[in-house]
Amino acid sequence: MSAAERTEPLPAWSLPAGAEKGIELAVEWPAEISREWAWGGSTGRGVRVCILDSGIEPDHSSVGPLAGAVAVVRGEDGEITIEPDEEGDLCGHGTACAGIVRSLAPECELFSVRVLGAGYTGSGPVLVAGLRYAIENGFDVVNMSLSTTKRDLAESLHELADLAYFQKTMLIASAHNLPVESFPWRFASVLSVGSHDRAEPLDFFYNPEPPVEFFARGVDIDVAWLQGSSLRCTGNSFATPHMTGICALVLGSHPELTPFQLKSVLYLTATNMIGLR
């Protein structure tokens, strides 16, 4: 019985005697979770993916149509507003991420939330506002190839990350190897990504020694860039959209999965899972 089929809501914090039947879980899980079960035949159709980045160049041949694009704008008085994005991509990176996701999940819906362009000074509040917008709009997956070192934003980001986790929005964020603390990739409710240097886009590894949870393809990747061009790139910020694309594939096959379940499926189908290959 799914949550939607329950007739009476459960109490928030406990499971009363006799209520077990109300939370019976779906029985369709196979004895062994395979990649074929996880995303076989999926194109990401029906999955709404948000790219929180520098914007996305519209009509790039490697990206295709966008479902929407907004910019988080900070006025001179510091007020933050969400506006339709008329400028596209201010750097090229958002377009690159969108192209990677599209290459893995060709039929997912791609949406751009631009959080770059408000200057360095305004970047923290803009990032928080952009993430809040993405969560409030119920995207299934949010790609965040970015982080902040500002401690005073950590609490807001942590609250948003947990909110996303419990309302079925999977946040996927780039880890980095620089010796400073940064957020939100370190939060357990976020799926954090580092790089491996293999060439197969569907190769990904679960890291038994977090905080970086998964390693995905992040070296020498041909990506879409500005004005219809393409570049070859390396970095965790390109590994991240690989995990985003893979998540879109899994959710295309199994839209009911929560972030906890989705992470579990990824763990069970990781390239380093013993016996998989």
Binding site: G92, Y120, L178
Partner: protein, 228 residues
């Protein structure tokens, strides 16, 4: 001015601030270029007050005359790296027409590839270091990013120290001739041989005592006795 400010200001007095800053930036880009056998390396620092990136130094190919050029702090590749705190390695960048134009304006030449890393110290992002046109080392891309990150961390610590000294020097200059005199005195004592230095410090302690700061003359926190 607090005791901390005073100590910082006096410390700044013994640093060759402006000259030292230029030397450090030059050294950072020279070493970055040498480590990666690159065609050039350059550094952009963040001017927080104006919210702009400033092109501060270049080693190798490129034009020194462009030093001082300013850019909005969150556009282009350097802006992305600064705001997102993420290192990037890009090849074939000359294929991107907008980048080619920006690069030519910034450095005087268009590189084929670049590595860019944020200069981070604690919570602060100080700027962006770029290494341009390093020879490809197949299979070593992640190693290069790791190495660049380590080097950038060291560079950021040095820059942070120097910027603190610069800020203190600004405070010093804004405080009038009296503090400048104290700082000059501190610098002079700092430059003495050990024995003379001890005598100089003793003299200052006596002077402090004479001026009515007996309880602080031994040099506890907040003491105005310059001990750079």
């Amino acid at each position: 001015m607090t005791g901390d400010d005073l100590r910082a200001a006096v410390a700044a007095g013994v640093l060759r601030s402006e000259e030292g800053h230029r030397e450090l930036l030059r050294s950072i880009v020279e070493v970055a270029r040498a480590i990666f056998h690159a065609r050039a390396a350059s550094i952009f620092l963040l001017d927080e007050e104006r919210d702009e990136l400033v092109f501060e130094a270049i080693a190798g190919e490129g034009s020194d005359s462009l030093v001082g050029t300013r850019f909005p702090s969150s556009t282009g590749i350097a802006g992305w790296v600064l705001v997102t705190r993420q290192p990037l390695v890009l090849d074939d960048v000359s294929e991107d027409p907008r980048f080619a134009k920006d690069a030519a304006e910034a450095t005087g030449f268009v590189p084929k590839g670049l590595m860019a890393v944020p200069l981070l110290h604690e919570e602060r992002a100080l700027g962006v270091l770029e290494v341009l046109d390093r020879p490809a080392r197949p299979g070593a891309a992640l190693e290069d990013v790791e190495l660049l990150g380590l080097f950038a961390a060291q560079a950021a610590i040095a820059l942070d120290l120097l910027q603190a000294a610069r800020r203190a020097r600004t405070a010093l200059e804004g405080s009038g001739a009296d503090l400048e005199t104290v700082a000059r005195l501190a610098a002079a004592i700092d430059g003495l041989e050990d024995e003379q230095r001890a005598v100089g410090l003793e003299l200052l302690a006596s002077l402090d005592k004479l001026l009515g700061n007996e309880s602080r003359a031994a040099g506890p926190p907040g003491s105005p006795v310059p001990r750079p």
